[in-house]
């Protein structure tokens, strides 16, 4: 988070010095985007607040934490494959889950399949690429997500 503030401030300063008008436009765009996503964002926070009231932290850690092992990863991969959620919602959600003790690996399983496997976008994709290519592409995507998940687990010391 410290880096985020540093990067944003430096970019803002450079942008202001280079072109004041463009910077104003950038601020307007970001405010616009923020307001547009706000309702969905609040809804996500509300749902998580309610769900996490009924599901104690220990249960989350047990099934999605480091020690959950394969179970948590399979859960993450399945959730990400079936559901559809914009990154603007998914990553903050990942941040909350991380605080609750979910492992990086299982969050990666969720967010990466979410990005790569288009279960919900399948009907759209097949209109452009045809069924065969769409299936192939999504299956390959799933395996890429599995590899990414394992590598994340390795680097964060969550496997072995």
């Amino acid at each position: 988070m410290k880096y985020l503030y540093i990067v944003t401030s430096v970019s803002m300063i450079i942008s202001i010095i280079t072109d004041w008008k463009k910077t104003i436009k950038a601020v307007k765009i970001s405010l616009n985007k923020m307001f547009k996503i706000m309702p969905n964002f609040l809804q996500m926070l509300i749902m998580i607040a309610i769900i996490l009231y009924f599901v104690p932290d220990e249960v989350i850690v047990k099934y999605l934490g480091k020690s959950a092992g394969g179970v948590g990863t399979v859960l993450g991969l399945s959730f990400g494959t079936i559901t559809m959620m914009p990154g603007f919602i998914a990553f903050p959600l990942g941040g909350i889950l991380l605080d609750k003790g979910v492992s990086y690996m299982n969050i990666a399983a969720f967010t990466t399949t979410l990005m790569v496997v288009g279960f919900v976008t399948f009907p759209v994709e097949k209109e452009y690429f045809g069924v065969k290519i769409t299936v192939l592409r999504n299956v390959i995507g799933f395996f890429i997500a599995v590899i990414v998940t394992l590598v994340i687990g390795l680097f964060f010391g969550e496997v072995f």
């Binding site: 944003t8 759209v124 890429i144 990414v148």
Partner: protein, 173 residues
Amino acid sequence: MKNKKTIIIIIAFFVFIFFSLVINYNPGLEIGENFLDFAISMLRVLPAAFLLIGLFEVWVDRETIEKHFGDDSGLKGYFWSILLASTTVGGTYVAFPVAYSLYKKGAKYSTIFTYVGAAALVRIPMTLFEASFLGIKFTIIRLGTSLPLIIITSIFLEKLLKYKEISFRKENK
């Protein structure tokens, strides 16, 4: 319509929390506390992340990148398709029609698949969000692993399609 439902949920939630406060209803208070916790931690990150995205949209010149996409010779072709994909605004939905038009313009299958795959994985606004909430280390590892895999599998997919003589849909889109 969908937005209306969201607004109703939000209002209902705040009414529920308000009455929980009035009658001291414990579950309601705890849920409200959860919500406040999350909202505060989000507020610390969101404005900065969205500012970066705004700056990105204003300063990145997509036309230059699109112009370069034409010369898809060798490694450079993959480089430009990833760069083009990273500047995609919106979801993967946007990438499919673009991919199809690239196909009609005669781009190689492997560069097209690299583009679509990368559009799902490295869109910069989304990646900024990821790094803000999950950390830079997470993002770097993910990009470092997935990008080479996208290129390799795209080349493989191209070979497979040529071998099996499968092609994109013929109809005009």
